[in-house]
Amino acid sequence: MSRAVVRPKSWVMFILLAICLINSAALAQDPARFPKPEFESGYQQPPTQTPPPRSTGREWMDVFVLAVALGLTSYFALKKRSRRAIWAMAVFSVIYFGFIREGCVCAVGSLQNVSAALFLSDYVIPLTVLAFFVIPLIFTLFFGRTFCAAVCPLGAVQDLVMVKPVPVAGWLQEVLGLFRYVYLGFAVLFAATGSAFLICRYDPFVSIFRMGNDFGMMLYSIGFVALSIFVARPYCRFLCPYGVLLGWMSQLSKKHLTITPDSCHVCRLCETSCPMGAIDKPTPEKLPVTREQGIRRLGVLLIFVPVMIAIGGGTFSRLDVFLSKMHPTVSLAEKIDLENRTGTAGTTVETLTFRSSGTPAETLFAEAGIIRKRFRIGGWLLGGFLGLILGVKLIGLSIFRTSTEYEPNRAACFSCGRCFSYCPNEHQRLENIRHY
């Protein structure tokens, strides 16, 4: 266009150039190959339909239902002491939070949203999701894990299918229970680096609630439900990362469900009543080690803990390259790098898309480098956390709290109320109520 103008004044040139640029920019944005038709028959162009999502009001309604369900379950577990009422609440939660609401968002998963919100500056968390995370924790801080008893849809589903639970040896339960901390650590790491929501991806029950998923996930879900028939709450006891937090809260809880309505006579009737292995026996008169031995052991362990933290941190921070593969940017960068080195291009849809986007590979590599650095720091934290947990668990083995009663273990008890009916005092209480 400008070539046709012979020796134009420079400002004419400038304007023409500007027009060309604007035109081409507009074209790139909206490549209308065919002009908009001029209809003569009075035809009206219909708008694109935009059905709205679930309203915010209904999300808040769910928060309200959550709070009410927690209140009711706490009342049934601590005050009314009715296993049947707790069971009914569990049925309700499976139906409402599970099948009607179809799983998302649940308190267990919300822990990832919170991690992301804490560590990623560009992640915004919806208030209702935050509420789903905080409310059960606060309730547990006052009443124990009544959330797990009957409000959590994942827990409730396992509770309802628990038909013939086999006892799991105490030490095995402890060891398997350590997986929860590992899962928690990884879930937070991957959420906080913006890589993945592990808990959602491997949620064993959501495909049941939605009644459909791909074949592999469906098999996994069915397997988990089948396992829950014979092993009491396998997900809760050995995997649930949110359960770790709830266990901490429960240990500090103001009130907690009790096996007996008044005081324990040590009749031992409830000893094996808990399918979750959550009942602590009274400590024997004679401690297995003397006080001096215990203190010495404790001293050694206290020195040992920082060492374990350091070992854990050092190990996991070295896994940064491996762990960061979970992040889509890093995995794309690796593919591009591989293609560059092997002299190929566009071997996957991802790389093809990236190459056609025109972003220079260096930008991608730089981004991936930043993310990897975050994984190095995250690895230190994760490894340190796991080392600390292991240390604290070992210390726990050598500290003996004296107790003269059968009591639910506050961290492990799900407040399900199965043990109530084993206590003779409970039968007395019910008898008394009937006599009134």
Binding site: D30, P31, A32, R33, F34, P35, K36, P37, F39, E40, S41, Y43, Q45, P47, T48, Q49, T50, P51, P53, R54, T56, E59, G103, C104, V105, S110, Q112, N113, V114, A117, L118, V124, I125, P126, L127, T128, L130, V134, L137, I138, L141, A196, F197, C200, R201, V206, R210, G212, N213, L252, S253, K254, P328, T348, V349, E350, L352, T353, S356, S357
Partner: protein
């Protein structure tokens, strides 16, 4: 006995203190991220990034994907030979099934006036594969595009399609503006 009681009292006191502290920490953390918290969000795909890889149709947790093709009528050229409707190389430009690009026959073609034809998506049939989107983008005005339909989407915490989308088209958008539309509607809202 008194000693025991004292011990218990002390333990309770420590616990009370710890509980208050924990509640404060949770509250503080809630306040910290709550201050930046936003209204509810939902998943949506950016049609300008989408490359029609067909994963939308296969990776949604729903058996019939929540992603469907939508039509920006005001971008459409109402072409007689539609790149989104007709299979490339189709000899006769009519509605015969063998000439259609859509594997489920979800696009309706109706005559408006010479030489214009209206194309409408029958959403119940669309599986979100994006074949028509690709055709329309390559040969037409790009008026057909994919969107997450919120009457179907379950708003998964982690959208299963987002994890496999090769173009990074998926993002969370405020739930009161849940679509990324093309044409006038896209600019208007």
């Amino acid at each position: 006995m008194n000693n025991e009681k004292e011990k218990l009292g002390r333990r309770e006191f420590i616990k009370d203190a710890l509980r208050t502290m924990t509640a404060a920490v949770i509250g503080g953390m809630g306040g910290f991220i709550g201050g930046r918290a936003a209204k509810n969000t939902v998943w949506q795909l950016d049609p300008n990034k989408c490359v029609q890889c067909e994963r939308c149709s296969t990776h949604c947790v729903l058996t019939e994907s929540a992603v469907k093709c939508v039509h920006a009528y005001d971008v459409c050229g109402y072409c007689q030979l539609c790149g989104g409707y007709h299979r490339p190389g189709a000899k006769i430009q009519d509605t015969a099934a063998e000439n259609q690009l859509c594997p489920t026959g979800a696009i309706q073609r109706t005559y408006v006036e010479n030489p214009y034809y209206e194309y409408t998506i029958t959403e119940a049939l669309c599986n979100g594969c994006g074949k028509c989107v690709k055709g329309c983008g390559a040969f037409g005005n790009g008026s057909l595009y994919l969107q997450v339909r919120h009457d179907r989407c379950l708003n998964c915490n982690e959208c299963a399609i987002a994890t496999v989308c090769p173009s990074g088209a998926y993002q969370r958008v405020p739930s009161d503006r849940p679509y990324i539309l093309k044409g006038q509607q896209g600019q208007g809202s």
